[in-house]
Symmetry: C2
Subunit: 202 residues, 2 copies
DNA sequence: GCCTTACCCTTACACCGTAAGCCCTACTCC
DNA sequence: GGAGTAGGGCTTACGGTGTAAGGGTAAGGC
C-alpha cells in the first residue's frame, strides 16, 4: 500500500498498473491479488490511507477556526498526494476514513449550533472545494513568458476580451502578480465560512 | 462525434473505446483516426460539443440573475451528459467552447461592477460547483430501505454519530425528506451569489 | 507427521490505444 | 473522357492493461 502511494506520488496515478506496482515491489503482478481484491480496491485503499492521515481537530475551539484548520490540514496533505482527488471521485461509496472525516466535519457544525438541515446544506457547499478534494477548473497559475502571452492576447483578444484581460492580469508581471494557489484557497475558504456564519445567525 | 456522445450517455464514458465506437458506427476502429488525432482528442471534442450547447445569456439583466440562469442552464445540460465533469477534468487546456463560456462568466462579473481581482476570486469560488462541472462528493440522495438503514445506524452509530444522524434525516422518511439535488444545487448557488454580492459591496 | 494458511508464481484470455502501410473511391483538372 | 490526387476506409501488428484459473512452497498449529 505504502509502495503504491509512493509510486503514485512519483509517476502519477495513471502510471499505476498491477504489473508496474508488482515490479516496484520485486514481485509478480498476480501476487498482489492476495492482498487486494481488485485494482479499484487497491486505489480505494490508497485513498483511505491518505485520508486517514488528515488530523481530526479535537480541541474545542470555535467551529469556524476548527473547520478552517481542518480544511487547511486536508489541503496540505493532499498537496503531497496530488492524485487523491482523482481517486476520491472514482469511489462509489465512502470508506471508513472518509466517513470519519465527514463525521468530524458534521460534528463540528452541529456542536457549533447548526441544525441538521443547515449542516446538510453546509456539507454540500463545503463539498468539493473546502475539503480540498478538488482540482481547480482553471489552472491559471502557469507562468507563460511575455511573448507567447502577447501572441495569445492578439489572437484571442477580439473574441474573448474578458478572459484575456484576466489572464494577463494574473500572469507573472501582470497587475495582480501571479496567481497564488494557497492564498486563493484560503480566500475561498473564508468566503464560505463567513457565508455559513451568516446563514447560521439569520 | 454525435455518435460518441450518444454512446457515452448510454453506457458511460468508460465504455467508450475506439473499437466500440467504431462498431457503433459500422466501421473499423482505425478509421476513426482520420477524423480524430487521439482518443483524448475525441474526448475533448465530445466535451467541447456539449459545452458549446450551453446558452450564453446575452440579455442585459442583473449580473446575479444572469449568472444564475447561466449556471442553471449549464447544469441542466450537464445532467443530460453525466460524463462531462469527468472529461472536463481530464483536459489540460480549456478548448474554445470552454474559453467562450469562461469569458462570458467573467464578462458578466466585470460588467456587473467587479474589479479584475474580485472577478478572479469569484471565478475560483464559482469554479467547480456553480459552473456545474462537479459531482457531489457525498451522494446522499440514495433511497435506502428502512431495514438496511437501521442496520447501518446500529453498526456505525457509536463511532460516527453525526454522520448517521444526518444520513437518517436525509433518507426517505427521515425528517428532511430525501435529499433533493436540484434544490441543493440552487441553495449552494444562491449562497455563493449572495456572498459575491456582499464581497462587491464591501 | 500432517494439515491448514498465506503467500507467490506461471499461463492465458480478452481488451485497450495506436503506428504502419495498403486499397479503393470520388473528385478535380486538363 | 482520361489522369492525378487526396481522403476515407481497411488490415495487421505491437506492447500494454486487468484478471480468471490453477499450481507450487514455506511457516505455524495440532
Amino acid at each position: 500500500m505504502a509502495a503504491a502511494i509512493e509510486l503514485a506520488d512519483r509517476d502519477g496515478v495513471d502510471a499505476i498498473s498491477m504489473r508496474k506496482l508488482a515490479q516496484h515491489l520485486g514481485v509478480e503482478a498476480m501476487s498482489l491479488y492476495t492482498h487486494v481484491r481488485n485494482k479499484s480496491d487497491l486505489l480505494s485503499g490508497m485513498t483511505e490511507a491518505v485520508i486517514s492521515q488528515i488530523p481530526i481537530s479535537i480541541d474545542d475551539a470555535d467551529w469556524k477556526t476548527s473547520l478552517r484548520q481542518m480544511a487547511l490540514a486536508a489541503r496540505s496533505i493532499i498537496l503531497r498526494h496530488p492524485w487523491v482527488p482523482t481517486t476520491v471521485e472514482m469511489q462509489a461509496a465512502p470508506g471508513p476514513a472518509m466517513l470519519t472525516y465527514a463525521n468530524a466535519v458534521i460534528g463540528i457544525l452541529r456542536e457549533g449550533g447548526f441544525s441538521v438541515a443547515q449542516a446538510h446544506h453546509a456539507l454540500h457547499i463545503l463539498g468539493s472545494r473546502v475539503l480540498g478534494f478538488t482540482r481547480d477548473l482553471f489552472d491559471d497559475s502557469g507562468d507563460l513568458d511575455p511573448e507567447t502571452a502577447a501572441g495569445l492576447a492578439r489572437e484571442l483578444g477580439a473574441s474573448h476580451p474578458y478572459a484575456v484581460e484576466m489572464a494577463l492580469a494574473v500572469t507573472h508581471g501582470g497587475a495582480l502578480g501571479r496567481c497564488d494557489d494557497d492564498a486563493e484557497f484560503e480566500f475561498a475558504l473564508d468566503f464560505i465560512l463567513d457565508g455559513l456564519a451568516r446563514l447560521q445567525s439569520s
